[in-house]
Structures are given as structure tokens and as C-alpha cells.
């Protein structure tokens, strides 16, 4: 009973598990915006854009704000 889980994990120590857990959460809660993550957002934005005229307009209004972020993600350095 109490040792079942030790068996299940085999050679892995708590440290391995805790490292994995911490890595999972730091990826999940990361506020950074690398290129890969931005690319992942594209399909969602496209879907929203295709939804209708009003959504397209709102999204276009956002474009000027997005451009510097894109640049930053591609070149990998902060501006200004």
C-alpha cells in the first residue's frame, strides 16, 4: 500500500519528479513571448479574424501594438 508508489516510480527520486514539476509550471506560467509561442497563437487569432467583420476590425486595431512584439520575438532582443 504505502510503498506501491515507490515501486511505480522505480529509480526516479523525488528530486527528478520535483524538477519535472517545476519545469512544467514554469513553462505554463511563463509570460515571455518567444517565437514558438507566438506562432502557436496565430491559428487562434486567424479563427477569430474569420469570425466576422467586427472581430476583424478589432484585431486590426491591435496590429500596431503587435508589430514590436513580433520584431522582438524574431530578433530575440528588446527594443528601446
Amino acid at each position: 500500500m504505502a510503498d506501491n508508489f515507490m515501486e511505480e516510480y522505480g529509480k526516479e527520486t523525488s528530486r527528478d519528479v520535483s524538477m519535472r514539476t517545476k519545469k512544467y509550471f514554469s513553462d505554463l506560467f511563463s509570460l515571455e513571448m518567444p517565437l514558438g509561442r507566438m506562432m502557436k497563437m496565430m491559428p487562434g487569432m486567424l479563427k477569430f479574424m474569420m469570425h466576422g467583420k467586427d472581430t476583424r476590425e478589432d484585431l486590426f486595431k491591435f496590429m500596431p501594438q503587435m508589430m514590436p512584439m513580433m520584431k522582438e520575438a524574431i530578433t530575440g532582443k528588446k527594443e528601446g
Partner: protein
């Protein structure tokens, strides 16, 4: 037992705290007073469930024991432990965070799978988490058409969320990774005793199934905090 003691990751909690964005707080102050367990509705029906022990294990870094336990999935989320806690430890948030961590380790997907419909079919499609759908025949006969009752009460026959609103939450879902997360849940297949093959049944009898189901490798969970207390229904699933 000595190996288990050695196995603890001492600075787990300390290093985890800044990563967890303030959801996981104050546990280092835990007095181990047990007030949380004393008033806990889940502990009342499953004696092996014990918030105090879970907090202790998290602070000491006994991560394996917590993540692989059934007990982690028995919390009622009632916040009663927080309301009595002298040190203001918001334990439900711990459960929430460590359930996610447990899912990352491959535990508990079968529980989550059962709730998938609420997110996919109701929340993202209609914008409303609980739909008018009734499963219980007695309730269906007795209440009948809910839209009729709504009209009598002076409300529109159906509560609807505007298409724009639904498009917006769908975009939030896509952009924040919720859609991808739900795809993972969609990859889980639940094994059912009625559809089980002989091969699977044989394995099931000799050993609990840490089976590879769907795309997610699901693991069997254990009662790591003691016997389930003679509750005949409280078997590990």
C-alpha cells in the same frame, strides 16, 4: 523507510513557490494543528484523506507520495480548511496546482476525462458551463421543458450568449493553450470492464493497470495516506 526519508527533495517547496505565481503560499508556516482535517467534508467520508499530511509532505518535498495519491483527487474544494486555518494557508489552491502536476506525471486523467464535456461541449460552444440537458428520467418527467418554465418566469425561453462572446472565449482558449490542453484530454480513452478484452482482464486481475491508454500514459493511483477506512466504495480507480 530510511530510503523514503532520503528521497525527499528538501528545497522543493522553496523553489516552487516563486514559480507558482502566488497560488501556493504560507505553507511553510503550517502549524500542523489539524484544524483543516477536523472540519473537512472529504475527510468525513474518506478517513484516509488528510490535508494536514499533504501539506506536510509538500513542504518536506515528499513529492512522489503526494502526486501519485488518490487522496489528492478527493478534495471537495469547499475552502473550509482555508476558513479555519490560523495561518491562512489556502489549501484548495494547493490541490488545484498539484492536480495539474499529477496530470503532468500521468495521474488522474480518467477523472478529468469525465468532465471534458463541460468545457468542450458546454463552455466553449455555448458559453455556459451547465446546459439544460437532464440525464435523470425522474427529473425529466417532473420538470419537463425548462424553457416553458423560463417563459412563465418572465425570461427568454433560452439563455444564450452572443456569437461574438463565444468567439471571444474561443480565442482566449486558443491563445492561452486551453484548446491544446483539451486535445490532450481528448486523447485519453477510458477502459470499461464491459468492453475489456480477455488479455486486459487478465492483466487487470494480477496487477492494477498502469496502462497506456490513448496518447496519454495513465498511471494507477494509490492510497498513499493509509487504508481508505473501510469504505467499501472508496476503491482506487
Amino acid at each position: 523507510m530510511l530510503e523514503q526519508v532520503k528521497d525527499w527533495d528538501d528545497d522543493f517547496y522553496e523553489t516552487f513557490k516563486p514559480i507558482a505565481m502566488g497560488f501556493v503560499n504560507e505553507a511553510e508556516k503550517c502549524l500542523q494543528c489539524g484544524k483543516c482535517t477536523g472540519q473537512c467534508p472529504a475527510a468525513a467520508v474518506t478517513p484516509s484523506y488528510n490535508p494536514r499530511k499533504i501539506i506536510r509532505d509538500l513542504v518536506y518535498g515528499n513529492v512522489k507520495r503526494v502526486l501519485s495519491s488518490v487522496e489528492l483527487w478527493q478534495c471537495f474544494f469547499c475552502s473550509g480548511c482555508y476558513s479555519v486555518c490560523p495561518m491562512d494557508i489556502n489549501f484548495p489552491f494547493f490541490v488545484f496546482m498539484f492536480r495539474l502536476a499529477a496530470m503532468n506525471e500521468g495521474y488522474g486523467w480518467e477523472d478529468v476525462k469525465q468532465l471534458e464535456g463541460y468545457a468542450e461541449k458546454s463552455y466553449l460552444k455555448d458559453g455556459i458551463t451547465v446546459s439544460t440537458f437532464e440525464r435523470n428520467p425522474f427529473v425529466m418527467d417532473n420538470i419537463g421543458d425548462i424553457s416553458k418554465i423560463r417563459v412563465e418566469a418572465g425570461l427568454p425561453p433560452e439563455r444564450t450568449v452572443s456569437p461574438r462572446g463565444i468567439a471571444e472565449i474561443n480565442m482566449i482558449s486558443d491563445l492561452s493553450g486551453m484548446t491544446a490542453f483539451m486535445k490532450q484530454i481528448g486523447g485519453v480513452e477510458l477502459l470499461d470492464c464491459t468492453t475489456c478484452t480477455d488479455e486486459q482482464a487478465k492483466r487487470c486481475k494480477t496487477k492494477p493497470m498502469p496502462s497506456k491508454v490513448g496518447k496519454i500514459k495513465t498511471h494507477h493511483r494509490y492510497y498513499n495516506y493509509g487504508e481508505p477506512g473501510g469504505k467499501k466504495n472508496a476503491e482506487a480507480r
